[in-house]
Symmetry: C2
Subunit: 161 residues, 2 copies
């Protein structure tokens, strides 16, 4: 089973693909969809959607997992993030892929065993879990963490957890 | 010139199409994309996107105008609305249509001459401006109001305002 994890952002959207082989997790690819500066917000949404559609087409995941958004401290950036998340969710739906959503706390707990883990800890743990030679960028590591989180929940659901 | 106006909503999205013939505005069609109850939020986003894509394909507008969203009193519903608005904006961008955004105040001002006009006043004025036999529903009237607002701004821009 191949899982695409997405860390949504209106400027930089991280993505990470992992393969679940029995109980082992294998790294497939990761990256960041970074919108060009000087683009309008609608143009950015188009680019974010196209970017993730290209990843889906090239890597053919079986499932998609995406981080939830909370209103947090900055309502205006949460609203922008909502738009970006909308077009990312749409990409999964249009590709007819099952979609799961996890909170930041669930993701951190799954990867670092601690719901308040910071970005550096997540990077470190993702590198260790997937036996990577070097740390992925923050956005890509967060996306791989979402995928790892989904793999854990999925395996737990199937009675092997 | 044919304008599609959109009043975004995560449960009901109004749409309205008008034709600008010289200085006259003619009604083409209007309606509401209402998502089925019991659907998941991702399924709703897909349905909203498909609904407006069908309108674009059937009515072939030259431009799209959409209402802006403000955080207002309920941040959580604004976030949902952000997702819906994201997939609506994406539909316009994927159809390569120019997109304009107007605040609720600009729309009310354009249609009713008063930035704090209520829904009933908007319905009444839309009916009068487009010489409709009966009032469209609130959501459809709001969408037609967005289209009328865009027609006004557009005509003003071309030096005829």
């Amino acid at each position: 089973m191949r899982i695409l994890g997405i860390d949504p952002g209106s400027r930089a959207t991280g993505y990470g693909v992992i393969e679940v082989c029995d109980r082992r997790l294998e790294f497939v690819c990761c990256g960041v969809i970074r919108v060009k500066t000087g683009q309008s917000f609608p143009e950015r949404l188009l680019e974010i959607n196209q970017g993730v559609c290209e990843v889906i087409e090239a890597r053919r995941p079986d499932r998609v997992a995406i981080e939830e958004v909370f209103m947090a401290r900055n309502p205006s950036s949460a609203l922008k993030l909502g738009h970006a998340r909308g077009v990312l969710i749409l990409a999964a739906m249009q590709s007819k892929l099952p979609l799961a959503e996890y909170s930041a706390r669930q993701i951190k707990q799954a990867v670092a065993g601690y719901g308040n883990a910071d970005k550096a800890q997540i990077q470190h743990m993702v590198k260790a879990i997937l036996s990577l030679a070097k740390s992925p960028s923050h956005d890509a590591a967060d996306a791989l963490a979402v995928a790892i989180c989904h793999a854990n929940y999925f395996q737990a659901d199937s009675g092997f957890g």
